[in-house]
Amino acid sequence: MKLFAILESRIRRLRDDQNGSVLLLSGIMAFMVAILGVFAVDTGQAIYNRIVAQNAADAAAETAALWQARGLNLVQQLNNFHYVFNVTLFGVEAGQLATCLSTPQTEANEHAACSIGALLSGGASCPPAIRAMTHACRECTKAGPNNDYQKSVAQQILAMQQSMTYTFPLLTLTYASQAAQQSGADDLSIVVPQYASKIGSQIGLSFPSLPAVNVFAFPINPASVSLNVQQVDGKYFPWRWSLVNLPSDDTRADEMVAKVAALVAWETGRIFCSTDPFQLGQFIGQFGGHDTPDDWGWRDKYYQGHPGYMTWAAGKTNQTELAGLGLLRWVNGGAPAAPVHYKFMNQDGLLMYVGTGLDSTSPLMVPPLIAVASSQVEGTGVIGKDGSLFKGFSSLGSLLTGINPVDQPPVDSTPHLISVYGVPFPSIYH
């Protein structure tokens, strides 16, 4: 009882004693200020990481588009080289055929006494007809080997272009990832699992565990890194005489003239060479092992197409932020990012910012510390200027802007980067 009284007395005295109250209040205030300060700094850290992630995604997207542009320009360069080579060789072969066909056939059998030595030394002692016949034989037999030479070069060029369709996507993936790494992104194999459940709940998918490889940025649609070019047949000058899959409304009398000229030259050469005592045509070998005129002309297959847009993702791990700030949506700029539509060449309303993957009209709800950015390669599509002129592409969609590659001499498409879109924050970038 007495103890209780003493305790009560002390409590009463303590209650009435104001000594130290300010210090206590100051301590509480200091604690609250410190907490607010920590939250301020912590929020700054989250925003910092958010911007780093966005920078990394932007750098990856830009790098990827850059390498796509380079790949397309290279394909275009080879198309140009191929075209110029074809035109040049066509001129040479046309001259040969003209020489061949202009030889007077009436003198075909006047080849009696003339030695090969005299003929090769200038043929001064040989009858003019003999010289003409021999000349015709030699000229008429050049078309076959020339055609083989042209075909070989064309195949080499096409093979190079084909290899580019494999190589440049790999270069794109590699360099984009490295750009993201150097911009401060974290390894996606660590970042993604932190947010996989959050993303998966949006689109109803569960992500498998990623292999432990160092990938710092990756396209949401891996197929988008493709150059998206395809091999197509040339259509106009110079001709490929054996081309059979021509559109029904395509009238090319000049091709028929050339083909008939080739056949005449072929037969003329055969006649001249068969009566040639020195068998120069047989020596050159036109009539043994080379293509017939039906296969002459120009294997003018070209690569044509245009890439689509790409959306790349990069991120930072949520490791330093307190209270899960890295998971708060407002760090991401508040409202979800709206889809960005872009008019590109013959494509209207191109969606630069992907949807959920299931619904292309809704924005992708990405966690704040994962950033996405889209990029596009701008410029004239590879050997393309008007898709409506090339009927073979109707089933390939509007991404391709194909025309006949040699409707006019192809020019450098010079694709370049046009934009990098990301989520609205930070708006200063966009």
Binding site: I51, N55, A59
Partner: protein
């Protein structure tokens, strides 16, 4: 003899109170709060500028990638408060070649830029720039090296050198041949 209380304390004399103690505590408490306020203000200031450094680094890297030379006075200061180019300590740009396909014509350069805001500890001694002049003091038991994180912040960004995305004919052939080799296509 014990003097009456009236003798010891005149009628105007106030009874003893805690006024002095409150004043002393207020001085201590307010000083603590002011110190915290300054510290939090400074830290948030630097934290804010740290965010801005990474944004400035992005602009800097973009400029470098496009063949320009970013400088604090010319282009980077706009990322900070009031175009604060005085306190932008460094705009550094380097070109990295992370992986070269071996073609001298086609260098996959990446411009790696960093922007540092603030000043080094050694420069702090002579600093007259606000608010760094406030940091010009020796904190007891605190080595100078620890001040580094308080006096400067930096951000970093990389950007591809995207000036060159076209090739001349011979260059194209060279790279095409290399691409063919890399692709391992047999024909």
């Amino acid at each position: 003899m014990k003097l009456p209380s009236a003798t010891r304390c005149p009628s105007r004399c106030r009874p003893p109170t805690a006024a002095g103690a409150i004043l002393a505590e207020a001085c201590i408490g307010l000083a603590l709060l002011v110190f915290l306020w300054i510290l939090v203000s400074y830290v948030t200031y630097m934290s804010n500028n740290r965010i801005r450094t990474v944004m400035a680094a992005r602009d800097s890297a973009w400029l470098s990638g496009n063949g320009q030379n970013p400088t604090a006075q010319g282009s980077i200061a706009g990322s900070f408060f009031s175009g604060d180019d005085v306190n932008v300590a460094q705009v550094q740009s380097s070109v990295r070649v992370p992986l070269s396909p071996g073609n001298p014509y086609f260098t996959p350069a990446v411009c790696s830029n960093s922007v540092t805001f603030g000043m080094s500890v050694s420069d702090l001694k002579q600093s007259t720039q606000f608010p760094f002049v406030l940091m010009n003091m020796q904190v007891p038991f605190m080595p100078e090296a620890m001040l580094t994180n308080f006096t400067s912040v930096s951000g970093h960004c990389a950007w591809p050198a995207d000036v060159d995305n076209t090739l001349s004919g011979p260059q194209a052939i060279l790279l095409a041949a290399e691409a063919r080799w890399m692709g391992g296509i047999k024909y």
